[in-house]
C-alpha cells in the first residue's frame, strides 16, 4: 500500500489514520446501553454458582444429543415397522386398510371398525403390531416433545402461558388448523402413497407436519406441569414437565392400542390446543396481554 505522496504506509499507520477518521466522524462514540440491561441480564442468570451452571449446561447439551438420537431412532424404527407391515400384511391390516381407503367410501367402514374397541386376535399378529406401533409412536412423540421443551424452554413456556390465557381460542384455532390440514393433506398423502416416489415424499412430509403438533404437546405438558404454580414456567422444564408429559402420553398409547382411531382423535384434540396456542403466541415469541 502506498500513500499518494509516495511514502509507503505500514499497517499501524493506516490503522491510526482510520482510527482518527472514525473518531472525527463521531463513529467511535459508544451507543448508550438500555438502562435496564443489567437488570434484565440478572434475571437470566442461573441461581447457582458458575461452576455448577456450566455443569448443568454440559448435562443439558448431552441430554439434547441423546434425545435427538432417540428421536431419530424412533423415526427409523417406525418407518421400518411400517415397511414391514405393508410387505408382510399388505391390505389385510386394518391400519393399512384405513390408509389405503381414506378418500373413498370404504374409509367409513374402516373407521367404524377402528372406532369400536375390540379384543385382539381377529387378525394374526395384530395386537403385537398395535402395541409396537403404539409404544414406539408414543415414545417417539414424547422424545420429540422433550426435545422441543429443552431446545426452546422459554418459547414453550410462553406458549403454555398463552394456553392459560386463551384456552378456548387456542382450542378453536388448533382444531380449525387440524381439520384444514386433515382435509387437504390426508387425501394428498393417500394419493401420493400409491407410488414409490410419492411415498418417499409422503413420509417426510407427514413427519414434518407433526413437528408443530409435538411442539404443541411440549407446551401442553409445560402448562400442565405449571397448573398450580405458574412460576415453574420461568424455570427450565424439570421433573414436573416430564411427569405431565408422561401423564399425557401413556393414556394416549393405551387408548391407541385398544382403539387406534379413538386414540388418534383424542391425541389430535388434546394437542390441537397446544398448536393453537403456538399460533396465537407466534411460536412463543409473544404473550397475549
Amino acid at each position: 500500500m502506498e500513500h499518494r505522496t509516495g511514502r509507503p504506509l505500514t499497517d499501524e499507520a493506516v490503522d491510526e489514520q482510520l482510527h482518527t477518521a472514525l473518531r472525527n466522524a463521531g463513529a467511535l462514540t459508544p451507543p448508550t446501553p438500555p438502562p435496564q440491561l443489567v437488570e434484565r441480564a440478572m434475571r437470566r442468570l442461573p441461581p447457582v454458582p458458575p461452576r455448577i451452571a456450566a455443569r448443568n449446561v454440559q448435562r443439558r447439551r448431552r441430554l439434547l444429543v441423546s434425545l435427538s438420537g432417540m428421536a431419530a431412532a424412533c423415526a427409523a424404527l417406525i418407518a421400518l415397522i411400517g415397511a414391514w407391515v405393508v410387505l408382510a400384511y399388505g391390505e389385510n391390516t386394518r391400519l393399512a386398510g384405513l390408509a389405503l381407503a381414506l378418500p373413498g367410501r370404504a374409509a367409513l367402514d374402516n373407521a367404524a371398525i377402528l372406532l369400536i374397541p375390540h379384543l385382539p386376535g381377529s387378525l394374526p399378529g395384530e395386537l403385537p403390531l398395535r402395541i409396537v406401533l403404539g409404544v414406539t409412536g408414543g415414545l417417539g412423540m414424547a422424545v420429540v416433545a422433550l426435545l422441543w421443551m429443552n431446545l426452546w424452554p422459554a418459547r414453550t413456556a410462553a406458549t403454555a402461558l398463552t394456553l392459560f390465557q386463551r384456552p378456548w381460542r387456542a382450542l378453536v384455532i388448533g382444531l380449525l388448523l387440524t381439520t384444514a390440514l386433515g382435509g387437504v393433506v390426508l387425501p394428498l398423502l393417500t394419493i401420493g402413497a400409491t407410488t414409490l416416489p410419492g411415498l418417499l415424499v409422503a413420509v417426510p412430509l407427514l413427519a414434518l407436519l407433526h413437528l408443530p403438533y409435538l411442539y404443541g404437546l411440549a407446551a401442553l405438558s409445560r402448562g400442565l406441569a405449571a397448573w398450580n404454580d405458574r412460576s415453574r414456567l420461568s424455570r427450565q422444564p424439570g421433573q414436573a414437565a416430564l411427569i405431565a408429559l408422561t401423564a399425557l402420553v401413556v393414556p394416549l398409547i393405551l387408548i391407541t392400542i385398544m382403539a387406534p382411531l379413538w386414540g388418534l382423535g383424542l391425541g389430535y384434540l388434546l394437542v390441537s390446543c397446544g398448536v393453537g396456542a403456538a399460533i396465537i403466541s407466534r411460536a412463543g415469541t409473544t404473550i397475549p396481554s
Binding site: D11, V14, L22, A27, P34, L233
Partner: protein, 192 residues
C-alpha cells in the same frame, strides 16, 4: 476494598466465581457499555444488541470458572461477545433456525428515547458501511477500531493468525472506504 480498579475487578470476579451475583452485577455494570457497543456494531440493531448483550453476560457467567486470570477480563468478555455475535449472524442467514430466542425475558416492545437515539445512530454512514462487511471482517474491524484490541488479542479472541487478521483488516478497510461516502473520509484518503 482497594481503590485500584484492577484489584477491585479481580475481587469482583473472585466473588462472582463463588456465586455472588451482586458482584457479577457490578461487573456487568462496568462492561455493559462495551458489550452493548460491540453487539450493536456487529448486529446493527438495538433490540438484537440488547438481547445479545444479555446472552453474552449469561455465557460469561456460565464460563466464569474457566476464565484465565492472566488475560484481561474485558478482552475475555469481548471474545465471548464477538463469537456469540458471529454465531447469531450466521443463524440469521437461516431465519428458520433462529427460533431459540427467549420470549418471556425478551426486551419490551416499548421504545425508549434511548432506543430511538441509538436507532438514529444506526442509520449513520459508518454503521451502514459496517453492516455491509462480511461477518468475519466486521468482527476484526469492530474489535480493532472500536475496542482497541491489539493484533495479538484479536488473534486470541478469534483463533486466527496475526497475518490473517492483518489481511482481513486490510480488506475490511478497503470495503469500508468503498461503502462510505467519501465526505466522511476527509482525513482518510490514504486508506486507498
Amino acid at each position: 476494598m482497594s481503590s485500584d480498579p484492577q484489584v477491585e475487578e479481580a475481587i469482583l470476579i473472585e466473588r462472582s466465581v463463588h456465586g455472588d451475583q451482586s458482584a457479577f452485577a457490578d461487573l456487568m455494570q462496568r462492561y455493559a457499555g462495551a458489550v452493548f457497543g460491540l453487539a450493536f456494531r456487529m448486529l446493527g440493531s438495538v433490540h438484537d444488541a440488547e438481547d445479545a448483550s444479555q446472552e453474552i453476560f449469561l455465557r460469561a457467567y456460565i464460563n466464569l470458572a474457566s476464565y484465565d486470570r492472566s488475560r484481561r477480563f474485558s478482552t475475555w468478555l469481548l471474545t465471548i461477545g464477538s463469537n456469540y455475535c458471529i454465531d447469531r449472524l450466521r443463524r440469521r442467514r437461516f431465519a428458520w433456525l433462529t427460533l431459540d430466542d427467549v420470549a418471556p425475558v425478551l426486551p419490551s416492545d416499548a421504545r425508549s428515547p434511548d432506543d430511538a437515539a441509538i436507532d438514529r445512530e444506526s442509520r449513520d454512514a459508518v454503521q451502514q458501511a459496517l453492516g455491509t462487511l462480511p461477518e468475519h471482517y466486521r468482527q476484526v474491524t469492530v474489535l480493532r477500531y472500536w475496542h482497541d484490541l491489539s493484533y495479538d488479542e484479536i488473534a486470541r479472541a478469534t483463533g486466527l493468525s496475526e497475518s490473517t487478521i492483518k489481511t482481513r483488516l486490510h480488506r475490511a478497510r478497503r470495503m469500508l472506504a468503498e461503502a462510505i461516502d467519501t465526505s466522511v473520509w476527509s482525513t482518510e484518503q490514504a486508506v486507498h
